[in-house]
C-alpha cells in the first residue's frame, strides 16, 4: 500500500527547521519503504491557485487558514496502515507537530 505522510507543524516547527531527520531517512531508506518526498519552504511563500468560472484567482499563502501547515511530505510503500503508523510515529516531527497519513489512490487499470 502506498501512503503519503504529510508532515505538519505550527510556527514552533521553525525551531526544528535545521534539525534534519535524525537518522529516520537513513533507516527508512534501508527498509526500502520510502519512494519519494521533500521538505517544503514555509507557508508564507506559498501561492494558491483556483479557477472559478474560467477566471484565474491567485492568492498569497496557503489554502487553509490554520495554524498547522505542511512542512514536508514523504511517499511510502508498506504493508498496511499499522506499518504506516509505525513509520510515521518514528519521524521526529511526530514529537512536536502532527503527521497525517493518507492512503494514495491507486490509478485505475489502463492508466499506467
Amino acid at each position: 500500500m502506498k501512503y503519503l505522510l504529510m508532515i505538519c507543524g505550527d510556527e514552533s516547527a521553525a525551531e526544528h527547521a535545521n534539525d534534519g531527520c535524525g537518522g529516520w531517512s537513513e533507516d527508512m531508506e534501508a527498509r526500502g519503504v520510502v519512494t519519494g518526498g521533500a521538505g517544503l519552504h514555509p507557508p508564507d511563500e506559498a501561492t494558491t491557485v483556483r479557477v472559478r468560472e474560467g477566471e484565474l484567482l491567485l492568492t498569497d499563502g496557503p489554502f487553509a487558514e490554520t495554524k498547522e501547515q505542511i512542512g514536508g511530505f514523504v511517499l511510502i510503500d508498506c504493508a498496511d496502515l499499522d506499518e504506516a503508523v509505525e513509520i510515521a510515529a518514528k519521524h521526529p516531527a511526530a514529537g512536536y507537530g502532527t503527521i497525517e497519513i493518507r492512503p494514495v489512490l491507486e490509478p485505475p487499470p489502463g492508466v499506467v
Binding site: D80, L81, I101
Partner: protein, 395 residues
C-alpha cells in the same frame, strides 16, 4: 437451541471466516446472510446439523465461490477460497477469525461511532435498521456510516488481523472501550437493553479468546454485576431507585456469583487495571446482604486505585462519607465544587444527600433544587423531586 440463538452465536464466526477467505467485507456479509436463509429453509426438513456453524460456514463459502466464478474476478482468489475445505480442516474451530474481526472493527484509526456500529453489524449480526434504532439515527445515516467504515478499512489498509504482541497493549483497551460503551448505551435505556446483552456476549467471547488478558475478564465481571441489578434500578413510576433502596432479593444472584468467579480469576492473573477495580467495587455492592452491610472503607480504598478523574474523586468522596460520616463526606464534596464538575447534577445531588443526613434540611433542599435544574433524564428528575419533597416537609 432456537434459530435466533444459533444466528446470534454463529453469525460473527461465519462472517469472520468469510472475510478472511475472500478479503471482501460486503461479499462476506451477503454470503453469510444467504447461508442463514438457506438454513431457515433446509433445517426444518433435514434437521439442524451437528455443527451448525460448520454447515453455515461451508454454505457461505460455496456461495462465495459461486459469486467469484460468476464474476470471474481473480482466478487466484477463487482457487484460494475453493482450496479451503471447511469440513476437513475446519477454520470454524479456530477462534482467531472472530478475534481478528474484533480488533479490525475496533481499530483506533476508525471513529468511535464507526467502531461501535461495525462491531454490532459484523460480529453481533444486528441489522443496520436495528443499530440505527439503537443509536437514534435514521437508517440511511447508519447505512452510510457503515459503508464509510468498511471503505476506510479497505482504502486505508487497516489490516485484518489480531495485532502483533507489541501492539496488543495499546490496542486491547480500544476493544474493551467499544464493548463497555455498547453496554452503557444499553444500560441507560430500557429500550436499548439488547445492546447490553450483545456487549456481554462479545465480552464473553473475548475472554474465551484472550484468557490471559485480565482486563477483558474484569470488564466482563463489571458488566455482569451491573446487569444483575438492571431490573431493580427503576421504580414502577420510572423514578431511579438508588442502590441502598433497591430490592436485593430481585438481583440476579446467579449472575453475581458468576461475575465474582470471573473477577477472582482475573485478579489471579496479577495485572490489575481499571476494569478489574471497578468490577471489585461493583462486587462490594452486589455481595452486601443489606445496604448497611456495604464495605465502604474497602470501596473508598478501591476508588483510590483508579485514575483520579473528577467523577472518580466524587465517587470516592461518597464512599469516604459513607465510611467516616456525612460531615467528612460533605467537606470532600465541597472541595470539588469549584472544579471541572460544575454543572454536573450529581455534584449538588451528593452534597444534598450529605446535608440531608446531617439534618440540615433547608440547605439540602436548595442543593436538591440545584441538582434538579441540572438533571438530564426523567428518571433522575423524579428521584430528585421525591427527595426534595422529603426534606421540604416540616417535621
Amino acid at each position: 437451541m432456537t434459530f435466533e440463538e444459533i444466528y446470534r452465536q454463529e453469525w460473527g464466526q461465519v462472517v469472520a471466516t468469510l472475510i478472511r477467505l475472500t478479503g471482501d467485507w460486503d461479499l462476506a456479509e451477503e454470503c453469510a446472510q444467504e447461508a442463514f436463509a438457506a438454513a431457515l429453509q433446509r433445517w426444518p426438513e433435514d434437521g439442524v446439523p451437528d455443527r451448525p456453524g460448520a454447515w453455515l460456514t461451508t454454505t457461505a463459502r460455496n456461495r462465495a465461490i459461486d459469486w467469484l466464478r460468476r464474476e470471474a474476478v481473480g482466478a487466484q482468489k477463487l482457487r484460494e477460497v475453493a482450496a479451503v475445505s471447511v469440513e476437513q480442516d475446519p477454520p470454524y474451530d479456530v477462534p482467531d477469525d472472530r478475534l481478528r474481526l474484533m480488533f479490525t472493527c475496533c481499530h483506533p484509526a476508525l471513529a468511535m461511532e464507526a467502531r461501535v456500529a461495525l462491531t454490532l453489524r459484523t460480529l453481533a449480526g444486528l441489522s443496520t435498521a436495528e443499530i440505527a434504532r439503537a443509536f437514534l439515527v435514521p437508517e440511511t445515516t447508519m447505512s452510510k456510516r457503515l459503508t464509510r467504515a468498511k471503505q476506510k478499512i479497505q482504502h486505508a489498509g487497516i489490516p485484518y488481523r489480531v495485532p502483533p504482541a507489541h501492539l496488543l497493549p495499546e490496542r486491547t483497551p480500544a476493544v474493551l472501550a467499544v464493548l463497555y460503551l455498547l453496554f452503557n448505551e444499553g444500560y441507560s435505556d430500557v429500550v436499548r437493553s439488547q445492546l447490553s446483552s450483545e456487549a456481554i456476549r462479545l465480552a464473553r467471547l473475548l475472554v474465551q479468546l484472550m484468557p490471559a488478558e485480565p482486563e477483558a475478564a474484569g470488564l466482563l465481571a463489571l458488566m455482569l454485576l451491573h446487569d444483575a441489578r438492571r431490573d431493580t434500578r427503576l421504580a414502577s413510576d420510572g423514578a431511579l431507585v438508588t442502590l441502598d433502596e433497591q430490592d436485593r432479593t430481585r438481583w440476579d444472584h446467579t449472575q453475581i456469583s458468576e461475575a465474582v468467579d470471573v473477577l477472582d480469576g482475573a485478579l489471579q492473573l496479577g495485572a490489575s487495571g481499571p476494569y478489574q477495580v471497578q468490577a471489585a467495587i461493583a462486587a462490594c455492592h452486589a455481595t452486601a446482604p443489606t445496604a448497611a452491610d456495604t464495605d465502604w472503607p474497602q470501596i473508598a480504598a478501591l476508588y483510590a486505585q483508579l485514575p483520579q478523574t473528577p467523577v472518580v474523586a466524587l465517587n470516592r468522596a461518597v464512599a469516604i462519607g459513607m465510611a467516616d460520616g456525612p460531615a467528612v463526606g460533605l467537606r470532600l464534596v465541597e472541595d470539588l465544587a469549584a472544579g471541572p464538575l460544575t454543572g454536573y447534577h450529581l455534584l449538588p445531588a451528593t452534597r444534598a444527600d450529605f446535608l440531608r443526613r446531617l439534618e440540615r434540611r433547608p440547605e439540602a433542599a436548595t442543593a436538591y433544587e440545584e441538582a434538579l435544574s441540572l438533571a438530564t433524564t426523567d428518571a433522575e428528575r423524579r428521584y430528585l423531586e421525591k427527595r426534595l419533597r422529603e426534606v421540604s416537609v416540616r417535621s
